[in-house]
Symmetry: C2
Subunit: 335 residues, 2 copies
Amino acid sequence: MKVNVTMKDIAERLDVSSVTVSKALNDKEGVSDELKEKIKTLADEMGYRYNAVAKSMKDGRSYNICVIIPERYTGMSQSFYLKVYQSIAQHLEEYGYYAIIHIMTDDDEDQLKLPRIYHEQRVDGFVLLGQPKTDYINHMKKLGMPLIFLDFYDENSNVDAVITDNFNGAYEITNYLIKQGHRDIAYVGNLFSTSSIQDRFLGYYKSLLEHKIQLNQDYVISDRNERGAFISFDLPEVMPTAFVCNCDQVAHLLMERLRHDGYKVPEDCSVVGFDNDIYATLTTPNLTTVEVDVEEMAKNAVKFICEKMEDPTNSFGRLAVKGKIIYRDSVNEKK
Amino acid sequence: MKVNVTMKDIAERLDVSSVTVSKALNDKEGVSDELKEKIKTLADEMGYRYNAVAKSMKDGRSYNICVIIPERYTGMSQSFYLKVYQSIAQHLEEYGYYAIIHIMTDDDEDQLKLPRIYHEQRVDGFVLLGQPKTDYINHMKKLGMPLIFLDFYDENSNVDAVITDNFNGAYEITNYLIKQGHRDIAYVGNLFSTSSIQDRFLGYYKSLLEHKIQLNQDYVISDRNERGAFISFDLPEVMPTAFVCNCDQVAHLLMERLRHDGYKVPEDCSVVGFDNDIYATLTTPNLTTVEVDVEEMAKNAVKFICEKMEDPTNSFGRLAVKGKIIYRDSVNEKK
DNA sequence: CTGAAAGCGCTTACAG
DNA sequence: CTGAAAGCGCTTACAG
C-alpha cells in the first residue's frame, strides 16, 4: 500500500481519468452509477483519503475559521469558552469548515499583532470571542475579512455580533427579586469594563424604573479594573437586601465576602448571578442566575460567518439570544 | 491593490522570476542582498501574505497537530485543558506548526470515529490529551502517524507519553502529611479509572510503606465510576485524620461532605489535593496540593511530536514531569 | 458519460 | 546570482 493514495492512483488502477475519479468521489454528475460505485469501492480498499489541502489551494480558501479569545478572558470562566468553541466547531463542520482557537496575549493585543494564521493565509474568517481593545477591533476590521463578534459588541463598530440578551436577562432577574419583595437592590459590576456588564446594568436599571425604585449610586459597586481583573470592594454602608451580580464568579466572591462579614445568604441578603457557569453551583447556597444559551449563540455565529463568506455584503446586525433564569437557593422572599 | 498578492505579482513588478522572490522572502541563498531587500520592501508595500497552503501542498504536510480531548474530560477542570492547549500552541509555533483542538464525543469514541481532519489529510500528528478507551488508542496507533499521549499513558501501548510525575507527587505530599504527625490517612480515588489516579495511589502507598503504616482498605475510597463521572461515597466508619485526594475537585467535594457531616478542615481532618486547579482556591480553607507543571509538559510533548515527524523511528518512552507541592491551609499538624 | 488541459501558489532540482 | 521547468493533488471549464 502506497503511503498516500491519490485520485490518480485510483484512476490508473481502473484505467479512467482522475477527473472521473474526482467526480465520482464528490458525487458529481457525469459518471455512470456503475463506474461511480466501482471507484468508491476501490478508494475504500486502497485506503484513499481526500486531500483537502489541494482543494484549499484550488479554491483559494483555507476552510478555517479562527476563534480569537483574549488571554485575560481565559483566566475567568474557562468552561464557557471551551463550550462555546466546541459548539462553534460542531456547527462549522456542517459547512465543511474548521474552527481554530487562537488565545491572544495581552502583548499581541497591545501591539496589534495578528495571529500567524492570518499572515499565512490559512484562515477565511474570524470570530472574536471576548472583547479586545478598540484599537485591535479597528485593526481587524481593516482586514476586510468576514468578522463576527461573539458574546460582546462594540458601539463604534458596525460589525455583526451575536450576544446574550444581557439587557433582558438582567431585567427579568431583577423583576424576579422585586416580585420577591426586594426594593433595596444593588448591582455589582464595573460599568465601563465591557458592554455585557453595562447592558446587564441597564436591564437592572430598567426594572428599577418600571417599579418606581430610585437608583442609588451607593448600590452600584465596581468589581474589576478596566483590564478585567477583579478588585476588592467595600459593601455599602447601608446594606441592600439583594444583589444583582454581573456574573456568577463575582456573585461567588461577593457571597464569600458577605459570609466573612457575618451576613447570611439568602436569609440576610439575596444574591443573583449571571451566566450559570461553574461558579453558580460551587457556592453554598447554589445561585439563582441567568443561563446563557451557548448552543444557540454558536449556531447563529456560525451561520452569520458562513453567509458572510459566501457573500461579504451580507450583514446581520446584532442578534441577542435570550437566556433563561435558573432558580436555585440564593434568593429569599423579603418579609 | 489586488485581493491576493502572490510571489508572481511581486516578480512581475520587479522583472525577476518568482523563484527569486521565493528565495528572497525565505532568506535562502542565491539572491543578492540588494535584490533581496528590494523584494522584501515591495512585498510589504503590496501587502503580500505568504500562502502556506501552497507550501503545504508542495511538501505534503499540513503543519497541523490535532490535540484530541475526550469530551468527558472537558466537563472537569476545563482551565487545565485550555492552559495545556495554549502552551502546546505556543511551542508548536516555534516549529511552524499549528495546534487544533478536537473535542471527541463519547459516541465518536465508542464508534472509533476519527476526526474529519484526519480523513481530509489536514493533520500531521496527534496529541492525545486525556485518556480515551483502549480500543480507540489501538485504532489510533494503527494509523501509523506521529502520536503522543499527554497527561496519561497506557500500559499496553508503547506510545511515547508525557505525564505528570503522579507517583512522586502523591508520594511527597503523603510524606508531608506523615511528617505532620498523621498516620491514619485515606486515599480518595477510583483506582481503576485512569493511570493517573492509580499512580497517585501507588505513590501514597509507597509513602505508607516506607513509614511502616499498614494500608487500610477502608481508607481507599472510590470517587467516580469508570467513565469518570463522580459518584457519592461514604466516609469510613472510623475516621482517618487526613485524606489524600486524587484531584482538587474531589478534594473540594470531600470538604463539602466533611463540613456537612460536622467535621472541620483542617482542625478535625487534613485534606490534600492534586493539580492545583481552580478548585484548590475555591475551597475554604485553600488546599495544599501538587501543582502540575503545564509549561514543561507541553514543551516536551511538542518536542517529542515534532521530532517524531522529522523521523518516525524516534522514540522517547515515558517522561514524567515533576510537580511541586503548594502549601496552603488545609493541613494541620496532628497533636 | 468521459477526459485532456490548465491552473491554484509555491518550491526543488537543475542549468546557465 | 538568476530563472525555466516540473510537480504537489485536486477541480473547473470545455471538448468530444
